[in-house]
């Protein structure tokens, strides 16, 4: 971000201090609009918000059922949730259509779980004059790669990153004058994960296959349980401390790639896996991904959220992966079917035979 942009934002924020500090919660229960809420993070977050007594409306295209019973809830709990949560069907890329659908409902809070670009967010803010807080799910992927880690919220961000849209959105929020909070998760995991993080390892562990790890396997990253993330999202709700703030949210400890493989094995009760190391540069995998995580150190400090929000992750890595296994993969469910084609390319080149049961 350019120096002039930073100055402008800082000046605007300075001018807005008085507005920010007079924002307060008039009523304990809020009218909440959630963009998304049927896939992963929102599934847990919407439940927490409804349980806390808030009126929650999910805005989705309706391609996925608005509610589905999840493995960790009783029939009673599901019945209560599904009867209380509301839904608006629409396409958030159809800005005018979306605006007309959300304009007069008197929403006070927006949880934007699936927004990618700033242009998608501006119409929402413009459509809701009663808006008291915009809470955005950003990404730690915005940080500029660094030789000094972990990433803290004050660190430089990368205007060229794949997550540029998230950065642009944060800048837009800053410029609009509405109180906003942005959450930057690292790798999220947990039951119903649609990103094949733990699932990728579980498929190989279940098949009794060696696990191909790029390079040394000493790359350090950070996994955060989706329920801990949902908890953090609840804590920033109507919280003036969080206005205008960005928070890294992930696990209390980091983990190496090799460590994730071993932790997944423990979680699913599998024997210690054989790890096979390869140099990705020696291969052409085409469009396929040979490993679910970016091949670099990637971890953040969560101390700001701990200090500001009184939040701390409840799940350690093995505990969290066990929770994911027991409520998802271990029950026979997963999002992507196993695809060992890149594994086989690697193993063949390294001359390793796989003894797979028929």
């Amino acid at each position: 971000m350019q120096a002039t942009d930073r100055t402008r934002l800082r000046t605007q924020a300075v001018r807005r201090v008085s507005i920010v500090t007079t924002a307060s919660s008039d009523t304990p229960t809020k009218k909440i609009l959630m963009m998304g809420g049927t896939r992963f993070i929102g599934v847990y977050l919407a439940r927490l918000l409804v349980k806390a007594g808030h009126e929650v409306t999910l805005f989705t295209r309706g391609k996925t059922p608005v509610t589905q019973k999840i493995a960790s809830e009783t029939d009673q709990e599901y019945a209560e949730y599904s009867s209380k949560v509301k839904h608006i069907q629409g396409d958030r890329q159809d800005f005018d259509g979306m605006k007309s659908k959300i304009a007069s409902a008197g929403f006070e809070i927006v949880y934007d779980i699936n927004g990618r670009e700033a242009v998608e967010v501006e119409p929402i803010i413009d459509a809701i004059p009663s808006l008291k807080q915009y809470i955005y799910c950003s990404s730690a992927g915005v940080y500029l790669k660094s030789d000094l880690l972990p990433h803290f919220e004050v660190d430089a961000t990368d205007p060229k990153s794949r997550h540029k849209g998230k950065l642009d959105t944060e800048a837009l929020l800053q410029s609009k004058g509405v109180p906003w909070t942005s959450i930057r998760p690292v790798y999220i995991y947990g039951p119903l994960n649609y990103n094949p993080v733990e699932e990728w390892f579980f498929h190989r562990l279940k098949a009794g296959r060696p696990i191909p790890i790029p390079n040394s396997g000493l790359q350090i990253t950070q996994l955060g349980h989706v329920k801990d993330l949902a908890d953090a999202f609840v804590r920033v709700l109507d919280n003036p401390t969080a206005f205008g703030q960005v928070y890294n949210i992930s696990g209390a400890k980091y983990v190496t790639f090799a460590g994730i493989a071993r932790a997944c094995a423990k979680a699913g009760g599998f024997p210690t896996p054989e790890l096979v190391h390869y140099n990705p540069k020696d291969f052409d995998f085409g469009k396929k991904k040979s490993f679910p995580l970016r091949d670099q150190h990637f971890f953040t400090s969560i101390e700001k959220a701990k200090n500001d929000l009184g939040w701390s992750p409840k799940y350690g890595l093995v505990d969290g992966l066990t929770d994911s296994y027991n409520l998802d993969f271990g029950l026979g469910t997963f999002r992507k079917a196993a695809d060992f084609s890149t594994d086989d390319m690697i193993l063949e080149k390294l001359g390793i035979k796989v003894a797979v049961p028929a």
Binding site: R10, V17, D147, V154, K253
Partner: protein, 401 residues
């Protein structure tokens, strides 16, 4: 030649955070500028002049408030402190900086160095600079840890810090003497090297340690002796003026001479290099807040990890030179990595969470800044002109081809 030493007085984070919330800059600064509540310059990208100006002004502001804040947040003042200091090695520099920080914080300090004042070891830093301590009113004595009483001439102390022993043989006499004298607070410089290796960095206070490690035996003994207050500090690697042991010098030696820097593969292994002033401020806080620091283990380290390759890059940047990294497989080439490289050839990374949470400690100098300061001193003392043999390097480079 007198070098200006920086020993920032510790800034309780709690107090500075309260003040900084009142300044308009706090809200915006959390977005992409430096927050006044953190003091180290995290971003390594090209800093705009505006970001630098914000950082500098917030640091000046903090320095002005610092002494008052520190005093206000302390539980005790005017303590009589004894530092039992090693006469060699990477920890020696801690006692030197700590003595100065404690005096600045209003305490009365005695430094007892192990051995004899006339020994050859005393010709090396930081001992060669002890006149700086005496100029500040620090009492410097020499003696045997087995008879601390004799060395300190029967003086009594509120707090005793052992920065000497690695095992119970060396430290027990000091601990026992302190207990017999009714010393209120006992502090021990242990080591982060005692942590068991783990798949999940960082090493955190409370994580499992190697039961047979000497420092562990000492920590256990101290904790059972029922001092009114006790704390243990676990450092990793340190840099700073007056260091008794090479750290970043190993990298500068090669970079200034345009020699390739051999790094054991993989170069992404991480370590933690703190500026000794940050350790010193942490311990000073603990002495000023004995209840807050009581019965607590503190990782005495910086709050950032650096990779081996990254350290080469940062040293090169400090020296304004290019550096060439050559990776080698130590095992495959039959190279003893302990002799070939100054840091443990493994991930070795602890974080200072207890210090932040219990003492309100924050880091005041980050590695980038520290290395620039160290490079200036490296040149000033003429080490770049020193004739150095790089025998192990040459062996490695010839094997790598």
């Amino acid at each position: 030649m007198a070098l200006s030493l920086q020993f920032p007085v510790s800034t309780p984070r709690q107090a500075s955070l309260e003040i900084s919330k009142l300044t308009p800059g706090y809200i915006a600064s959390s977005f992409s500028l430096q927050s006044p509540s953190t003091s180290s310059l995290h971003s390594l990208g090209t800093s705009s002049s505006i970001a630098m100006a914000v950082k500098k002004s917030s640091r000046r502001w903090r320095a002005a408030k610092t002494v008052a804040m520190a005093a206000a947040a302390n539980e005790v003042s005017n303590r009589k402190v004894l530092i039992v200091n090693t006469n060699s090695g990477g920890h020696a520099v801690i006692g030197f900086w700590l003595a100065k920080d404690l005096v600045a914080a209003g305490h009365e300090v005695t430094v007892m160095t192990v051995g004899e004042e006339s020994s050859d070891k005393m010709k090396k830093p930081p001992f060669s600079r002890f006149s700086e301590l005496r100029d500040l009113g620090v009492s410097t004595v020499w003696g045997d840890p087995k008879d601390v009483g004799a060395a300190v001439g029967g003086k009594s102390f509120h707090a005793v810090l052992d920065n000497n022993g690695k095992d119970l043989d060396a430290v027990k006499p000091v601990v026992d003497w302190a207990k017999s004298q009714g010393v209120e607070q006992f502090l021990f410089i242990s080591s982060a090297g005692i942590y068991k290796t783990s798949d999940e960095p960082p090493h955190l206070e409370g994580d499992p340690v190697k039961a047979d490690a000497g420092h562990v035996g000492v920590e256990d003994y101290i904790s059972k002796l029922a001092f009114k207050f006790c704390s243990s500090f676990r450092p990793q690697y340190m840099t700073g003026s007056g260091n008794n042991k090479d750290c970043e010098e190993w990298f500068f030696d090669r970079i200034v001479r345009d020699k390739p820097v051999p790094i054991p593969s993989p170069g992404i292994r991480v370590t933690n290099i703190a500026h000794v002033s940050d350790l010193s401020s942490m311990i000073t806080l603990a002495i000023g807040k004995p209840s807050a620091s009581n019965a607590t283990i503190f990782n005495a380290v910086s709050d950032h990890a650096v990779t081996f390759d990254g350290l080469v890059r940062l040293c090169a940047r400090a020296a304004a030179k290019e550096a060439k990294i050559v990776h080698y497989d130590a095992k495959a080439l039959g190279i003893d990595a302990k002799k070939a490289f100054p840091f443990r050839n493994m991930h070795f990374y602890a974080e200072p969470r207890a210090a932040k949470e219990k003492l309100g400690w924050t880091s005041s100098i980050n590695l980038s800044e520290a290395l620039k300061e160290r490079y200036e001193e490296y040149i000033k003392i003429g080490r770049d002109k020193k004739d150095i043999k790089f025998e192990i390097d040459d062996t490695i480079l010839s094997k790598v081809g």
